[in-house]
């Protein structure tokens, strides 16, 4: 106890001593907007998703930036708005812009994101930390829109590479009814073609029974086929997918949105210093860090990295820096992360995880690319119509 109080006293003294040496301070204000539509009732509602996913990642990044900033005379602040409708998100965006905000992190559906980007002026920078839609990276790009959230195709390419290198190349695909499920499944069908996988059955999920009682009866029949190496599930909101593993007709692994999943981030990622990020997050939020948190964190850390170098919070300057050779983000994925100059997507390795362990990390050795192996994940430059840097 006496040791504790002494260390607290000492740290207070040194805190004062470590105050900024520079006289002028630069205040970097970042707006965070969240609008996540309700997913509707789901069958597997046992482990609820956190409602502040994304927001807490943004808060952690502000703390991280501020710790760096205090040595350079830079302060960071976050104004956040968790809206309950698209209109609410747009109104909050307008209000922040009126108050002089020009740096934003948005965790919202693609349609909302597009509406915001269209309203934003030239000297504004928006980070997409929510929407995974491939269309935002292949055709509907915007000069001032960057993506720290991986696209569906980056996730499914990670899975496709993994299935290929395991030689599990005949798969049974089950797709849920939502737009997101279809987006995920479309991305997977493209990945299957890219990585030489054969989709032996491609079935939509149409049941509406309560699978907690009947999964063991319905799923074996649903997954009947002469043979397949793995079952791939596209059930983004987690409706029926949790009941597919161990209930398949053939004794085969389940991968996709359930079973073993390609993800942006997960609590089981611990290498390359990730354990420290996970600890910091857990201390702040009282829960594990997920993909939305990571994407928001990476967005604000990207801005922080630019501000550290530039000593300016001008959106155009930050944007130019992020696309320059000087930018690299250390983001606990074992590689330096950079932005794709044609569509503003943050390149990143994709962990493949099951609920209690890391299975592998894409890209895998042997999938070659002339520039960077990370561009074997998602739509590559020639496959995208976007040229946001001309």
């Amino acid at each position: 106890m006496s040791f504790l109080s002494r260390t607290v006293a000492i740290s207070l003294i040194t805190l004062a001593a470590a105050s900024p040496l520079q006289a002028e301070t630069l205040d970097v204000r970042i707006g965070y907007l969240q609008w996540v539509p309700h997913q509707g009732p789901v069958l597997s509602n046992i482990i609820p998703e956190p409602e502040d996913a994304g927001l807490r990642g943004a808060e952690l990044a502000i703390n991280d930036n501020s710790t760096t900033g205090k040595f350079l005379g830079q302060t960071y602040s976050l104004q956040s708005e968790v809206a309950d409708s698209e209109e609410g998100a747009i109104a909050a965006f307008d209000a922040m812009r009126e108050n002089g905000f020009d740096l934003f992190v948005v965790n919202a559906p693609a349609s909302t994101l597009k509406a915001l980007t269209e309203k934003a002026g030239d000297n504004t920078l928006i980070f997409n930390a929510g929407a995974k839609d491939d269309a935002l990276r292949t055709g509907q790009c915007h000069v001032n829109l960057l993506h720290t959230m991986p696209s569906y195709s980056m996730l499914t390419d990670a899975l496709g590479q993994w299935l290929n290198q395991r030689r599990w190349d005949e798969v049974f695909l089950i797709t849920g009814p939502t737009q997101a499920d279809k987006g995920w499944a479309d991305a997977f069908r493209r990945s299957a073609k890219r990585f030489g996988l054969e989709i032996v059955e491609d079935k939509p999920w149409t049941f509406d029974a309560d699978l907690r009682r009947t999964a063991s009866k319905e799923l074996p029949l649903f997954t009947q086929a002469s043979d397949y190496d793995a079952v791939v599930v596209a059930d983004v909101r987690g409706d029926f997918g949790e009941y597919v593993p161990f209930n398949t007709w053939l004794p085969r692994p389940v991968v996709g949105t359930q079973g073993m999943s390609p993800v942006t981030w997960h609590r089981v990622v611990e290498s390359w210093g990730a354990a420290q990020l996970q600890n910091r997050f857990r201390e702040l939020a009282g829960r594990d860090m997920n993909g939305e948190d990571y994407a928001a964190w990476a967005a604000i850390r990207s801005m922080g990295t630019a501000v550290t170098d530039l000593n300016s919070a001008n959106p155009t300057d930050i944007r130019n820096f992020l696309f320059s050779d000087k930018f690299q983000l250390a983001a606990f994925k074992g590689r330096k992360l950079t932005f794709r100059d044609w569509n503003g997507q943050l390149r990143q390795p994709i962990p493949l995880v099951h609920p209690r362990g890391l299975v592998a990390r894409a890209p895998f050795e042997g999938f070659l690319h002339p520039n960077t192996e990370m561009d074997t994940l998602g739509f590559d430059r020639p496959e995208s119509e976007c040229r946001i840097n001309g």
Partner: protein
């Protein structure tokens, strides 16, 4: 009870007699909670010592009687008595100690507390915490200049070198370097500091008198993707001839001319090479290879890798006792 006593007594006697036989290297095994003891003459593991959880940074006291061990997940620094090879004490360390450095006065231990963004200074004799200094996010590398004037801490996410005055325990200068700075090594005359950055892929050469960068090095290992070239540990020969830089998951150690900063060669070692140490006559360099779970031995004269020694899981740090 009686037999147990006899066994411990016997073990203690064996323990007492072993160190005199040969020069030894100590290796911390991060995921085995052990230290491997390597006989540097036979280049074999002769003993495995159980220590605290997640041992990473290790260093010798200036009189070579003790080994200090960062037991990161136990939030403590353990003290191993080298004569008996037993843990005899623990020091307050702050949370999650990863790396540390001992002042030439053999008393002040500077500990980087990775989870708390703090450097803790502990008096190893009285166990008093002398200071806790706020630094950047994820403080990692720690070094004290041989003349005792400076303690340098690297903060990984803040990407800075924090220069701490060892008399006032205050930061006097912050130098921004590449992403994820990991390790700092001083030249023997305290005039030059070498700092590695893992994600930046660089080594920064700092003129200590002026606290300014005078050179920045990068590395290109033939046939290895540039993303995997991640400098971590640095070791300098005392004659000022070579610097060895461990390049992490590129599985190579760079040999650098310490005067011209030119890379002379890349030596293939085990997977994810992390830290390095020279033996007492600087004939051999030992490297810890985390992923392959072994230690590579490099012949310094021929600049060739001559042996790999299997140790525990995820070997992290290595130090060689020059007196043993």
């Amino acid at each position: 009870m009686k037999t147990l006593f006899k066994q411990t007594a016997l073990a203690a006697m064996i323990g007492l007699s072993t160190p005199a036989l040969a020069s030894v290297a100590y290796v911390s095994n991060e995921k085995d909670n052990t230290l491997s003891v390597i006989d540097t003459e036979t280049q074999e593991v002769i003993e495995t010592i159980s220590v605290g959880q997640r041992p990473r940074g290790i260093l010798l006291s200036k009189d070579f009687t003790k080994l200090y061990i960062c037991a990161s997940d136990d939030d403590t620094v353990q003290v191993l008595d080298l004569a008996t090879r037993k843990i005899v004490d623990t020091l307050p360390s702050g949370e999650d100690p990863e790396q540390f450095a001992l002042h030439p006065n053999n008393k002040h231990l500077y500990i980087a507390n990775e989870d708390d963004a703090i450097v803790t200074v502990v008096d190893v004799d009285t166990k008093d915490v002398l200071a806790q200094i706020d630094v950047g996010i994820e403080p990692e590398g720690m070094a004290v200049s041989p003349d005792g004037k400076w303690a340098v801490n690297t903060s990984e996410t803040t990407s800075m070198l924090h220069w701490i005055n060892t008399e006032t325990f205050e930061i006097e200068k912050n130098i921004v370097v590449g992403q994820r700075p990991r390790h700092v090594e001083f030249s023997k005359d305290s005039k030059i500091a070498w700092a590695s950055t893992e994600i930046g892929g660089t080594v920064h050469i700092i003129d200590v008198d002026n606290l300014e960068q005078i050179h920045e090095m990068s590395f290109k290992v033939p046939g290895v993707n540039q993303d995997r070239v991640q400098p971590v540990g640095i070791e300098l020969t005392s004659d000022g001839k070579y610097a060895f830089v461990a390049l992490g998951p590129s599985n190579h150690v760079a040999v650098v001319d310490a005067q011209t900063y030119e890379v002379l060669d890349y030596l293939l070692v085990g997977a994810r090479v992390w830290q390095l140490d020279l033996d007492k006559d600087e004939k051999h360099l030992y490297t810890t290879n985390g992923v392959s779970g072994d230690v590579s031995v490099i012949d310094v004269e021929d600049l060739k890798v001559i042996k790999s020694i299997k140790v525990g899981r995820y070997p992290w740090g290595v130090v060689i006792d020059p007196t043993s």
